[in-house]
């Protein structure tokens, strides 16, 4: 069962949340970030080339212009492959674990899987981010040494940064599955 809704992130950009319910014990949430805008790309390219032309008119060395073109290309490729995240996915499977995938604009995917035995809970936390106070969803991991302690806090949807309404939807669905998981693990 698939479902798509549109939300906004903390800066006001448009986000699309796609929910897929594969089975009562397996759900997937997919957040698509806004694409790379042509306006900002043109602005950066123009600035770099104007600066290079300024340097060229000072030094009369044409290597500067070729270097500027090369730097722009390499910089754009590096940005698309290492920085720009297109889509973030959260897959939660009852009694197996939680998987988070980030897909970059160049097609690269980076995945992290956390086993259900290590997950303590999923909560919405507040944080101070620059001059704002934002909400973010995070996974709390159990501490192997102390039974009531938390060893790590793993934030989810770090680059999409959706607002509270989107987070509440995801939180409710995840808590349904975690409740199922806790119920079945206490009565085997």
């Amino acid at each position: 069962m698939e479902d798509e809704r549109s939300f906004s992130d903390i800066c006001g950009g448009r986000l699309a949340l796609q929910r897929r319910y594969y089975s009562p014990s397996c759900r997937e949430f997919c957040l698509s970030c806004p694409r790379l805008s042509l306006r900002s790309l043109t602005a950066v390219t123009c600035t770099v080339w104007l600066a290079a032309y300024g340097l060229f008119s000072l030094c009369e060395n044409s290597m500067i212009l070729s270097a500027a073109i090369f730097i722009t290309l390499v910089g754009l490729l590096g940005y698309l492959h290492f920085v720009k995240i297109d889509q973030e996915t959260l897959l939660i499977i009852d009694s197996l674990g939680i998987q988070m995938t980030s897909s970059y604009a160049s097609g690269k995917e980076s995945t992290t899987f956390i086993e259900m035995g290590k997950v303590k809970d999923i909560v919405i936390n507040e944080a101070i981010y620059m001059q704002k106070v934002i909400y973010y969803l995070c996974i709390l991991l159990k501490d192997p040494v102390e039974p009531h302690g938390i060893s790590q806090v793993v934030p989810v949807f770090q680059s999409a940064k959706p607002r509270l309404d989107c987070l509440i939807e995801v939180y409710r669905s995840c808590q349904e599955i975690l409740a199922q998981q806790k119920a079945t693990s206490t009565n085997p």
Partner: protein
Amino acid sequence: MVLKAFFPTCCASADSGLLVGRWVPEQSCAVVLAVVHFPFIPIQVKQLLAQVQQASQVGVAVLGTWCCCRQEPEESLGRFLEGLAAVFPHEPWLRLCRERGGTFWSCEATRRQGPGTPGEDQVTLIFYDQRQVLLSQLHPPAVPPDRQVGADPTSTGGLAAVFHTVARSEALFRSDRFDEGPVRLSHWQSEGVEASILAELAKRASGPVCLLLASLLSLVSAVGACRVFQLRPLSFLGSKLSTCEQLRHRLEHLRLIFSTKKAENPAQLMRKANTVASVLLDMALGLLLLSWLHGRSRIGHLADTLIPVADHVAEELQHLLQWLMGAPAGLKMNRALDQVLGRFFLYHIHLWISYIHLMSPFVEHILWHVGLSACLGLTVALSLLADIVALLTFHIYCFYVYGARLYRLKIHGLSSLWRLFRGKKWNALRRRVDSCSYDLDQLFIGTLLFTILLFLLPTTALYYLVFTLLRLLVVAVQGLIHLLVDLINSLPLYSLGLRLCRPYRLAAGVKFRVLEHEAGRPLRLLMQINPLPYSRVVHTYRLPSCGGHPQHSWGSLCRRLFSGELIYPWGQRSDKQD
């Protein structure tokens, strides 16, 4: 809990039969290892499973039935399969079924006895690539390496248990459905057993070769450890020169590679392989350097430019000293002390130039023989270069030591006389400052000396500053060369190559993909290996380096510079001050 069934992708198109594998009750997870085909005799199947259990300490059992047929299974087959559940009792009993040519599977798990009502569990099917899971290694390892030999397999948790089960069940994968044996199995080796002739030949040949080379190496190290080298001048030289350090390091490496002991765990095997790769790269780069140096009389050119460069450096130093003896940067120096120090250092440079000119006819021969050492490896050549740089700038080192000792003496004198000026004294027994009553003449002479030392301080401090900066420059150049040597020594090339070409061997974890799903059918997932990122590969498998890291932090370095203590580069020599 939802029952998870791990099914190998290689058995997805196998004929109908029995499912054989391991059941992990704590996670409610069934790992299917192979499929036993019809016809079979139950006693022989049970014997085979008992043999495998004894050989691998993994609890293999018959988990259920597998049915792969053209259309819906007929009634008789269904009853036959149910009858098998009575022959091989197992809780819960799995019944996997697939239509040949169809994409959807059906899976049921039934429990007959046990607490609660007998009934069916919900099943999730997880497909895994058996060959990749068999060969891969999880990082961080679930069982620490020192406990691995007698470890209890049930103590590993989660997905590590699946990896562990598949890796330990080698005994099950030896027989095949094409063999003439009593039981016909399908698993990842069913398409043909993998082996390589070259690998087998290398294994046979490595025994005697290793023995021969290990005895040669022990001879070399016995020669190196003999009494002649323990005597004072040679042992002092040996500890100071970085070439000897590097040669000792390489000898250790070679001993590790050619040792006749087999590697006990995967970490040691990777270490050996990385050492082999590092030594081979070193030799290859060294031979390249050798061929470049000895072609087109480059050594002659190098020797011709070496003496003029040394002369030029000495001339620049002389200009610097003339500048210091005048009014450097507009500061006013104490004329007499300035002249004394300046003339002393100038004479020193003059001596140094004469020695260099004495040596100039022999430089080309020395360089030629030194160039030959590049065949031992690029790292040895670079260490030799660092040593040559140290020898050629020995006069800068001497100046630094003179300046530092003088400055230190002055600072000590000043601090002690300052205490006298205030009427205090350093109590060496109690290690603290105590008040003390001095005689008048003691106070008079003490104050006089204090004033003299104070006004001579700027001159000494300036000389110390200039020579320390020069020394730090030389140390920086040597440090760069050592960094390069360290890089070649400690880079784990074999692990990086493995990560590039066979990424499933080094696993950071797993990732799941949800396959086509139909309502009412069990959920199907594909489990793939998530490879380790390159930075973690380098961090985990780095070879230990020569011990060339600076032992002092920036703060303590500045403190030592300020108080005039001698700093030794890279902490290779033991700290005499401590």
